[in-house]
Symmetry: C2
Subunit: 144 residues, 2 copies
DNA sequence: CTCAGTGCAAAGGATTTGCATGCCG
DNA sequence: CGGCATGCAAATCCTTTGCACTGAG
């Protein structure tokens, strides 16, 4: 199933007329190996890769819907693999103190309710929802 | 009830050993008059106020839990009055194209379910949730 | 050969801070 | 009077961009 991931990534890049270069594969592997969204600095620590190349490749991967940008309370962008590539729908615990982000999941029943709510929003407003973002903001174990 | 708002703000600032200055009151009034979170630029357009003073006062107001910072997809910070000051619990529609943010509400039943989920998270993880953030990300009427 | 990807360094832009001044308490 | 708020301008810092080089097809 690991190769499934990479062939999925390659497919999405191809659809965007983009190549699956070694740097891009390295980024995907870094994100694959973690359980939470990573910042630029965290990703740079893992492998030798120019900061600008990282930013540029993340932009390409984001446009191809391979990675997803996660926004926290600090000024640092964080990235994770797209949920529909990893079959791992989850939500985020965001620390209001330090900005750390961790993953968590909720019950299928709650997810179903959320999906229903999204459908209703589309019917009432002119807004067409693509996905939902349920984050819990609070204080993490370290800062607490 | 308008005065209730200002006395509530004054109280929270006092608790933080901060004054309720004219600039701070102006900021609260600007936010009170709108139905969606505002960016720095939008707030500057309303009244004559130095950019640095706006940033500094927003930091003070945020620390006193008078205003709340809303994060969108573009790089612009947005601010709204704290929900527990206005008795107006709502969520956000975030446009993935232009970053515009609008407010919306969901059913009380869904809210109750969300609160229950939050309680469960605290029991399982070391994370102590303060509030939840349910955003729908999609394409707004203008960009659609 | 061509053209996208890469790395380095410089630029960009939202946000923050230093400092002198003014005003509230 | 003392200290905080204010405004202006300069500095910060994450992020983006210009440019020359390299490598894959």
């Amino acid at each position: 199933m690991i190769e499934d991931l990479h062939s999925g990534v390659a497919g999405r890049l191809r659809a965007d007329a983009q190549r699956y270069t070694p740097n891009r594969r390295a980024i995907v592997e870094i994100l694959e190996a973690t359980e939470r969204p990573l910042t630029i600095v965290e990703m740079l620590g893992s492998r030798r890769l120019a900061q600008s190349s990282l930013y540029r490749n993340l932009a390409v991967l984001e446009a191809a819907k391979v990675v997803h940008r996660v926004t926290s309370t600090d000024g640092f962008a964080r990235f994770e693999l797209a949920e529909d590539l990893t079959d791992d729908h989850h939500h985020h615990l965001i620390c209001a103190r330090c900005g750390a982000v961790a993953d968590f999941t909720v019950s299928p029943a709650l997810e179903r309710t959320l999906e229903e709510a999204m459908g209703r929003v589309e019917a009432v407003t002119g807004f067409r929802p693509e996905h939902h973002r349920l984050d819990l903001v609070g204080v993490c174990a370290t800062c607490g």
